[in-house]
Subunit: 268 residues, 2 copies
């Protein structure tokens, strides 16, 4: 399996601290050594860094850890290959353009017998179930809403319906962003934390690194960090119940919808 | 205006030497300081590094200069903004997916009154004439050939017809690649060199750096380098006549077609 890391903020924020801990899991403190990638939105533009090498030893990961790129939406992924060989074309996150915006997608899980018809508008370049699911999601969104981006509420509802279909095929934890919102699906395992004033100190689980967020933030900053497993050992992370789709915007959870039968906890 | 750099090879080759000279022109030895970018194909995958900072001082450019990424097709661009503000979304090269392959495009020039109808299949994210032209090219290619990639000869002929239309709107020097071939349009200014055995020493124009290619190559290697202006001062570069579209593959010019009236020189 793989690990996911996402960040959604109300002001452009760098992810150097969280990425330090996450990077270590790619062949250092954990086994996800089949490549890694990270995408940063800066306005409507995106920077996508991909490396089929383990993140723990990747020169590109070193750059990302030390070069503070300020972004309101970030998605990162470290890979333990299940479907598709180790190679750049199978490395997450994936990027496509829809409605004049870039969309970024990363997946943790494994989909079985998921081979929906693709009409040619978005075709996978690699061989992963993940990229296939991403292409299908975008195809279906365009099919529903045509050439014009919908209101965000309608977008979230459509994404919810589509997620219900894909999730029948297996584990489908994912992060998806168009630079405005970050959508997160907890299929089996995902947790998050919202940091806001009063800011405190945080200590990484995977490296002996501490940051005092009160030194590097303004009082109105708000940052949601979403990860497969909590990245710090002295903060309270919220488990996202299996079978929940989340919409984050401006550093906060806006809405949650269930994706499997049964009672769903409300966002903290 | 901007500057273009492309490389097309018969074996995966790193571009560190050429990029060193090119990088210096982005705010160092020349004025193209409104951002830069470079895309590497590795098989069907691509790595795209973009930075709205001048390349001469960009930490990402430093990484690219020192991290030998081996690729058969590379496209780089340093920007002097004409249309579209300085910003990540207006930074070349641009990337889209068509027929399950990534396509990379960079442009040097300025197009006036080029506002063709776009059907929604590829929409610019930024505000440059360049990205608009790229989206239109891909839209028209898909329109002609449907869901299936054509034979390369048919692709080149279609690209030629489309280039004839765009070039009526102004300067349209461009590099375009899908990872198999590299297409280069000399609208006003472009030159190239093909390096093959016997390999010799080359010295950069923009930095005092020399490489002896015989030390770093095998006898069957062949590398075509295409640039707005020659990058070395002790080799013979071939000017590509204004009004010629070139198809490079496996490190050699395969075919050339005229894009303006008048006699066209044959590839060297």
């Amino acid at each position: 399996m793989c690990q996911l890391l996402g960040m959604n903020c109300n002001v452009p924020t760098d992810i150097c601290f969280s990425f330090s801990g996450f990077q270590a899991r790619g062949g250092g403190t954990d086994v996800h050594s089949d490549g890694w990638g990270i995408a940063f939105f800066e306005g409507k533009g995106t920077r996508l860094f991909l490396d089929p090498q383990p993140s723990a030893t990747s020169p590109v990961a070193e750059l990302v850890r030390h070069y503070p790129i300020r972004s309101k939406n970030v998605i990162a992924h470290i890979r333990k290959a299940t479907q598709g060989a180790v190679g750049l074309e199978n490395t997450h996150p994936f990027m496509r353009e829809l409605w004049g915006r870039y969309w970024i997608f990363a997946h943790n899980g494994n989909l079985l017998d998921f081979a929906p018809p693709l009409d040619g508008s978005f075709i996978p370049v690699g061989l992963t179930d993940s990229e296939r699911a991403f292409c299908w999601l975008l195809q279906e969104l365009r099919h529903r809403f045509g050439g014009q981006a919908p209101e965000r509420t309608d977008l979230f509802d459509a994404l919810h319906q589509l997620t219900l279909e894909v999730t029948q095929h297996g584990e489908f934890n994912f992060l998806l962003s168009n630079g405005d919102c970050l959508f997160a699906h907890a299929s089996t395992k995902l947790s998050h934390i919202v940091r806001q004033a009063p800011f405190a100190r945080a200590h990484l689980k995977d490296q002996d690194v501490t940051v005092d967020f009160s030194d590097v933030t303004s009082p109105n900053d708000r940052v949601a960090v979403i990860a497969t497993l909590p990245l710090t050992d002295n903060e309270t992370w919220t488990d996202m119940p299996p079978g929940t789709l989340w919409w984050f915007e401006e550093g906060a959870a806006v809405k949650t919808l269930p994706t499997r039968p049964g009672p769903i906890k409300k966002p903290a």
